[in-house]
């Protein structure tokens, strides 16, 4: 179905996202390091990025900026344990589609991913 990358400084969290979304038939690549995620996006087509905001080296919002530069059509869901108005505003201005507060329910995650991916297919269908 879709190619998704999940980036979180806690590996268990990325693996969990991978497991949940794999069950839905998506291909999920999990990363804990920002550089590797960005490098992957340079080589491969990515449909959706699920990004934590608090990371090791930079913030998830910055990573979003880089990824959007590489693949402007890529969709993005921000996930954070400590939401602030500033990061939300910034993420949305950079083109994030969703801004979710951790911990997210399995159902909620599945719904959000489905919704975001659908908006892509809708748009691409229209553009074709």
């Amino acid at each position: 179905m879709a190619v998704i990358i999940a980036l979180d400084d806690v590996q268990d969290a990325t693996v969990l996202i991978g497991k949940i979304l794999s069950k839905k038939g998506h291909t999920v690549h999990s990363f804990t390091e920002e550089d590797k995620a960005i490098a992957f996006a340079k080589e491969n087509k990515v449909d959706l990025a699920i990004l934590d905001i608090k990371l090791e080296k930079m913030s998830g919002v910055e990573v979003l900026g880089f990824l959007k530069e590489i693949q402007p059509t890529m969709k993005a869901i921000m996930l954070t344990g400590y939401p602030t108005v500033e990061t939300a505003r910034e993420a949305i201005s950079l083109g994030a589609d969703e801004y979710c507060v951790k911990p997210i329910d399995r159902d909620e995650l599945e719904d959000k991913v489905e919704k975001v991916l659908k908006s892509r297919s809708g748009k691409s269908a229209m553009s074709v």
Partner: protein, 525 residues
């Protein structure tokens, strides 16, 4: 005798004698006029008398000569011979009187000069006296001024210190050597609960609560000469104790003998409460900061636990033991999530909207969503909401949260007794210029030992999973942020004397006229 050659001499003698008479009359008249003009002038006096005698002499002599010539011409030589010695004698007599007048006046002039001199020095002395007199007068009037000025200064200073003594909000007292309080200001009497009228006869022993304190007071006072910031307890008129901060100075006389002391005592009751409040708000702030830090850290692992338990549910049926266990994990993880969410709300009280709000509308909104579940437990809601309330400024969402917390607490307090009443009222209080909301229930009330802790974070009497212990502390923070106060009364005394239930009071200040629209836009997007 040949009369012809003698004729010019005779003529000159006669004319001269005649002119002498005329001239001396004129001189005498002149001198007389001078004397008349300045009768007190000594010189003119002298001149007049001198002229007078000289006049007499001159007239006598001139008349003598004229007579002689007339007798000689008329050949009456014999008659002249008889008269001549009389004329000469008379002339001599007049000459003597002239000399006498001159001598007399010569001495008189000396006397006059002496008198003049005396008068002059007397005048000078008088002038000196006058100058010193005026100096003295000036000095005298200046002295009066100086004394007046000093007195004014002194009375101003006295007034200043008296005012300080009378108006001081702290106790000021003076004590004699036998420790009797000879003088205490009204603030001091008020602090101790005495009235001005019954000015009590007190000694230091009477107002010190603790004898050890008094011993310490005197020990320091005598050895050091003063006492600074001593925390002691005083006894009030009604025998209760108050905490005061005491500073005092010993008074010694010139022989270095102790004659008493003067002191100032500050009532610490207010400071103590303030310190407690400060400690409480500091605790709140610390919890807020800690909550923010903890939230992020806990949310990630919590998400993993929740996610894995939900993932594993795919592998088991809900009825199986494993399925049920997983449901417990999920439920508890969700309870944790709620705690963290509440903590986040608590820690982020600073970011809030500022809109113009009608409090009765907020309460109606809250009742609309809670009333249904209240009815399920047979709890009736009684509204008494003023529809003409002034607006307040704040965050609608946060204020709703406060009332949801109150109603939930009331609900939980009454659900076990099977039924109950909630009285909710909202009105304007003029003296504080506040909108007041009152939520009263008929539940079990709050135990006395819990009453001081209900606003503390994590304090709860509810069973695990039902309450996080953050509801009221979040509410407290929200109301404080809105510039309001939150009060609790429990248990409440009813009219029939029975005690039951709890009342929560919220007072929020009425919006001032300045427009809040500028700031209200900011947080709504």
């Amino acid at each position: 005798m040949t009369s012809l050659p003698m004729l010019p001499t005779i003529l000159v003698d006669m004319v001269g004698s005649f002119s002498i008479i005329i001239l001396c009359v004129l001189s005498l008249r002149y001198a007389w006029l001078l004397l008349r003009k300045q009768p007190e002038n000594f010189l003119w006096g002298f001149l007049f008398y001198f002229c007078l005698t000289l006049f007499c002499f001159s007239v006598s002599r001139a008349v003598g000569h004229l007579l002689k010539q007339i007798l000689l011409i008329s050949d009456n030589k014999e008659q002249w011979r008889i008269l001549a010695p009389y004329s000469g004698g008379f002339n001599t007599l007049l000459m003597i009187s002239l000399a006498a007048v001159s001598i007399y006046y010569h001495k008189g002039i000396e006397g006059y000069h002496a008198i003049q001199k005396k008068a002059h020095s007397l005048k000078e002395a008088n002038e000196q006296l006058e100058i010193s007199g005026s100096k003295l007068l000036k000095l005298n009037s200046d002295l009066e001024g100086i004394v007046e000025k000093r007195t004014r200064k002194l009375s101003a200073s006295e007034k200043k210190f008296r005012n300080f003594f009378i108006n001081s909000k702290d106790m000021v007292y003076f004590c004699d050597s036998s420790n009797r309080l000879v003088n205490m200001n009204s603030a001091g009497l008020e602090m101790l609960g005495y009235t001005m009228e019954e000015t009590p006869n007190l000694s230091l022993q009477d107002i010190f609560y603790d004898e050890e304190d008094l011993d310490k007071y005197f020990e320091t006072l005598i050895s050091v000469g003063f006492v600074e910031d001593l925390e002691v307890q005083f006894v009030k008129a009604d025998t209760t104790a108050i905490f005061v901060l005491l500073s005092a100075t010993a008074i010694f006389d010139e022989n270095r003998d102790f004659t008493g002391c003067e002191g100032i005592a500050k009532d610490l009751t207010r400071v103590k409460t303030m310190m407690e409040q400060l400690a409480s708000s500091e605790k709140m702030a610390t919890v807020g900061q800690m909550a923010a830090g903890v939230a992020h850290e806990i949310n990630t692992p919590l998400g993993v636990i929740l996610g894995y338990s939900q993932l594993m549910m795919d592998d088991f049926t809900p009825e199986s033991e494993e399925g049920e266990n997983l449901q417990v994990i999920e439920r508890q993880a969700k309870a944790c999530r709620k705690i963290v969410a509440d903590l986040l709300k608590f820690s982020r009280q600073s970011e809030s909207a500022r809109e113009n709000i009608l409090l009765d509308e907020v309460i109606e909104d809250v009742l609309a969503i809670t009333e249904h579940s209240l009815k399920m437990d047979h709890i009736n809601v009684h509204r008494d909401l003023d529809k003409n309330l002034p607006t307040i400024v704040g965050d609608t969402e946060k204020l709703r949260q406060v009332f949801v917390n109150f109603i939930n607490n009331a609900h939980h307090a009454m659900e076990k007794q099977g039924s109950g009443e909630i009285y909710i009222s909202c009105f304007y209080e003029e003296e504080t210029n506040c909108v007041v909301a009152k939520v009263q229930d008929t539940g079990h009330g709050i135990p006395e030992d819990a009453l001081t802790k209900i606003f503390d974070p994590f304090f709860t009497t509810k069973s695990v999973g039902k309450g996080t212990g953050l509801g009221l502390s979040v509410s407290y923070g929200i109301i404080q942020e809105h510039g309001g106060v939150i009060e609790v009364q429990s248990p409440v005394k009813n009219n029939d004397g029975q005690t039951k239930g709890t009342v929560f009071l919220v007072k929020l200040p009425v919006a001032t006229n300045e427009p809040a629209s500028v700031t209200s836009k900011r947080d709504t997007n």
